[in-house]
Amino acid sequence: MNVRDHLPAFLVMVPLLGSFLSPVAVSFGKTVRNVFFVAFAALTLLAGAAICVATFGGNILVYVMGGESFALTMPSGMSYPVRILFEIDAFGAVFIFCVSAAAFAGALFSVNYMERFSGWKRFMPLYFLLTAGALGMCATGDMFNFFVFAELASIASFGLTAFWRDKPEAVEAGFKYMFVSQIAAMLLLIATGALYGKYNAVNMGFLASVMESGTMERVVLALIISVTAFRCGAFPMHTHMTDACAEAPCGVTCLLVTVSQASFYGLVRVCYSIFPNLAGGGTVGWLLIVMGSMSMIFGVMMAVIQHDIKRLMGYHSVSQAGYLLTAMGVGLLALGRGGGMEGYGLASIKGGLFHAMNYSFCNGLLFLCAGSLYYATGTRGLDKMGGLARNMPWTAAMFVVAAAGISGLPPFNGFVSKWMIFGSGFAVHPILPALGMVTSVLALASFVKVFQAAFLGPPRAKLIAAREAPYGMLAGMGLLAVLILLLTLFPGWFMGNVFDNAAEALLRPQDYIRAAMGGR
């Protein structure tokens, strides 16, 4: 048995096994519990990184659950793929790596962060289910399983948002999230059913090969775009995101960011691979750009006025999701127009993918820093903190790395990705770079405000005894900080090996189709 062939199965099996076994591990005491938690998260990261490496050079991994052979998509002369299909190309692998890295960092962080609380028997299974759901969303090859994995991830995230059930705000945030998310899920299911009714299949590759551009397809595309944009927290539908980010435990919030990335993956996959003709027409591109710009500006403006540190970070997530949507919208528009514009579109998509990775690591690290501050001081209010840089030097340093990375200060990774997005956005409309610049400046301003309020100034009398976070939490934060620094120091390597392949894979739906239809 060649392990490399079965990697896509391991990707979902490992977190699921972790989630099934964790109630047993919890009952064996603290050490076993912690080792188990970190070990399974590390295995997940290993599988994710291995998949990322396996897709270098444009390979597409196909896996058939329950097939006579792992790659036999069309058994006994069927004319379209049956069974549960996993299909991972270089584009999906980017998001898989983001999710698994954030899951590992969040697990390391949570080992110490959640120590003071009971309920580990519930926390660990939900955490692994959330990981499995997000990874499955990025790996799956059919619409219905996308729905199933999205529901798996959202059920786990409702549970984790309302994890501290003795806290009214947490329960309320969980219920709100659940209410809107259920409506969205049902709309996604209606779209899937409509596609099935017309084409008799739910497989993404097969659907892409036979897709027409009629009225029904337009309705389906509109439904899917609104649902996935909702899940990744775009502007008019962002409230669940900020509430959940504020109320969930911090290690989980780091993962929630990447779960929203997973639905962003679904949005891009649907627009570029399944409905390339409909989405390339211009309307969808402008829709994404308008939605993205609104999220950027609105998110960062709301972030500037927040006093609650986690809610502030939540609004930054909305703002960064806006960058990604804008990048993908610019890509669609530029590629659809043709006539020498393709280069701009390609650059925009590459920048968007780079920014997706920056966003998950930097925002994850920001949430972990917020959690570390909360752990040390016991408050989330910025007004009640002050002078913590002396007591918590490591947290302060990592906060600086993350904030500089995400707000795009020149030597850091965020600068590269934002430059690529807005350099090509200029080709579509000159207002886009201006909006991006304003957003970056405001983001920097809000981070300066947080840094000044929390770390600088005279120490508060109440917080004299505040200690640096324990080693587990620092290890989780350090992992993300190292990844950010790697992205900063070697953007060329990442661009050449990861993002170029990913953008190429996205722009060649015919390869995706051929892999799903049995050709290697």
Binding site: M1, E68, I84, F117, T379
Partner: protein
């Protein structure tokens, strides 16, 4: 919840067991009739809610064992996972035990459909455990609200803020 009248409890004593038998039948025949693990498991798990309605909350809390249902759930899940792994040289979930047309079975105890019916049994056990636990926990939280009993030693969110 208060217990219902003696009529209900007597009917429960006589007929509730048939519900379990019917549920197990649905689980066991999931591979060739409509039904299967989830449906049968849901039928079996109605037994617990029936106990709650007929005999009332006090008796329910003394009779129900959280650990037993948790164990049932865990065994079901692990068995399901193991049956999935049986197909491994080919692919995860491959039905390697199925007996092809005209072939000889490995053992007469093996069902013809291979892992499908075994997985049905595993899922049935899992669903019985999980749905009974759902009833147990939901009733537990209602009781917590009604009687003002605390969280039972739970250490939740620490309220430095307020």
């Amino acid at each position: 919840m208060k217990p219902l009248s003696v009529v209900v409890t007597s009917v429960f004593d006589i007929f509730a067991w048939f519900m379990i038998v019917f549920g197990v039948y649905v689980i066991n025949n999931g591979h060739n009739t409509p039904g299967g693990g989830f449906q049968g498991g849901a039928i079996v798990a109605t037994f617990m809610s029936f106990v709650l309605v007929a005999y009332g909350g006090k008796k329910f809390m003394t009779w129900a064992r959280e650990g037993a249902y948790g164990a049932l759930e865990l065994i079901g899940l692990m068995a399901f996972f193991a049956f999935g792994c049986l197909g491994f040289p080919n692919a995860f979930f491959y039905n390697s035990l199925a007996i092809p047309h005209g072939g000889t079975p490995l053992s007469e105890w093996l069902p013809y459909c291979g892992t499908i019916s075994l997985m049905n049994v595993a899922v049935g056990a899992e669903v019985v455990g999980a749905l009974s636990l759902v009833v147990y926990y939901m009733y537990g939280s209602i009781r917590m609200v009604d009687t003002g009993a605390g969280m039972g030693g739970e250490r939740g969110h620490d309220r430095f803020d307020r």
